[in-house]
Symmetry: C2
Subunit: 335 residues, 2 copies
Amino acid sequence: MKIKDIGEFGLIERIHAKAGRSSYPVVIGIGDDASVLDVGPRNQIVTTTDMLVEGVHFLRDSIEPFDLGFKSHAVNLSDIAAMGAAPAQSFLSFGLPPDMEVETIDTFMDGFMEVGEGVPLSGGDTVSSPHGWIISVTVIGTSPAGRVLRRDSGVPGETIWLCGPVGDSAAGLSILLGQTTKVDEQGAQFLIKSHNRPLPQVRMGRILLEAGISNCAIDVSDGLLQDLGHICKRSKLGAELELESIPLSSPIKELASANGLDPYRWALRGGEDYSLLFTVKPENEKKLLRVLEKEEIAAVPIGRTVPGKGVRVFRDGSEVETGPDGGFDHFRERP
Amino acid sequence: MKIKDIGEFGLIERIHAKAGRSSYPVVIGIGDDASVLDVGPRNQIVTTTDMLVEGVHFLRDSIEPFDLGFKSHAVNLSDIAAMGAAPAQSFLSFGLPPDMEVETIDTFMDGFMEVGEGVPLSGGDTVSSPHGWIISVTVIGTSPAGRVLRRDSGVPGETIWLCGPVGDSAAGLSILLGQTTKVDEQGAQFLIKSHNRPLPQVRMGRILLEAGISNCAIDVSDGLLQDLGHICKRSKLGAELELESIPLSSPIKELASANGLDPYRWALRGGEDYSLLFTVKPENEKKLLRVLEKEEIAAVPIGRTVPGKGVRVFRDGSEVETGPDGGFDHFRERP
């Protein structure tokens, strides 16, 4: 039996089965946005890691080294944000072709450090790679002892909030891949930048945790429907989304309109926006609204958690068909 | 200018220059066996990461998956040991060819977990890799707040101690590469196992730190001369080694003799033994000897730290020429 026969999910299950019982002081092991380690009375340690491979995750000629550095750090910072933790240090391991220009690495590092906003690079590894560029990033954050935003902490009756855009990254990718025809240069650049330089919602995550506003969050990396589905599955609940509550940028609306597409398709299924999705109990809504105003952060309610399971989507009060497994294959053919 | 023009050292310098000032709470950033993060009054966090690339660090056909799993975890655990920390959790990111057999990963994981002796795998990433296997491991350990074995904490007048073998791994590799002719199967298997399943000196490292016996250690990954050279450079001191104090296994002596080689060449220059090299002040020697006896750990004094710089090697009282840069190219041509 080969890896392609069991897929990524099957492979992770198999590795997980051999991972050793995740015992104290490992509070969270495999299965959330990041791992949590208890290290004493004050703080706990929140750790995430990601690998990017040239030819699989990116093509060297189609992304600027600055953007690649920016994004490879951003996706890990976003996982830390989804736990409500504060990034403390990063690690970067490089597999590099020996004939790569040194300036490429300089520019990559500039992007990597820019999105980190002061998080120091504390270590890593540099190795030769004959077949292409490999990037492995680890980010360690800290959160107050015993407290973290978890995927499995949602309960029915909460409001679902979204901080950050959804769909812009996928729309930008469609332009880069030539799948859509852009309307105007400025709008196209906005969408492409959303894809190449996603902004991790680190500040929102920390505030949610520190102010005790939310217990449950995930970052939108696979797509809104799928990531909300992760919360539902882990928290053993269902969710109802109101499509018209999901904010769309002007460029995504214009691009969709010009290409005869429904922009909500990108908003629900498009990944790599690295927005923050979180749930809030009714009694904490006022506190959240005060914080959003004071900190000048934009976040909006887009639905609610309910008993049951799975994500249901409503548009102007009518349910929309979203397809099996939280997928969205039939969205455009809705009745 | 290309990466091959500036080499790994030049590349690291360049990345380091952009890494951000390693400020509190990052106690140690780039430059030691692992990074140290202050997280509160009780513990600190010690982190290391390594990347292995197929075709560069290993050939898939010449190492068993079990051994590859064992070794890829061992080299990181060894870095944690060299800080005197206790491993707490590991992370494993895989780049894998889709046509790889699933059982290969199962066996890899068995080796990975075996050397960890209970350290849980807490996360990672699994991605497709078209050109070969990529392995990126991160290990996080803990040590008491404010205390760690550092490369730069040696002072003149200390005894240099070695815990674990040196040279066996390089001798084993010489057999695997067909550079030497093996004497007997049992001896060959001993040396090859030293190369494929090196044992990180985690227990020794923790004891040295917890009992306050040493402040300064490094693991022997590049070779005894080179790694002792790292301590000398970072601690701004010199070192004198007594060749006859360095213990050699029977198989390495027999292999060297049968092939007309000097076994000390492997012992001084061979890497990948993952032994622990540490310095001890005269007033702590008695405590060390008591601990070694009580815990049944084998470690031996092999030299001393002195004012000045660089490593000098003596054999039966006469200095041995070791070549420039701590290398050992002229060892066999000594007068």
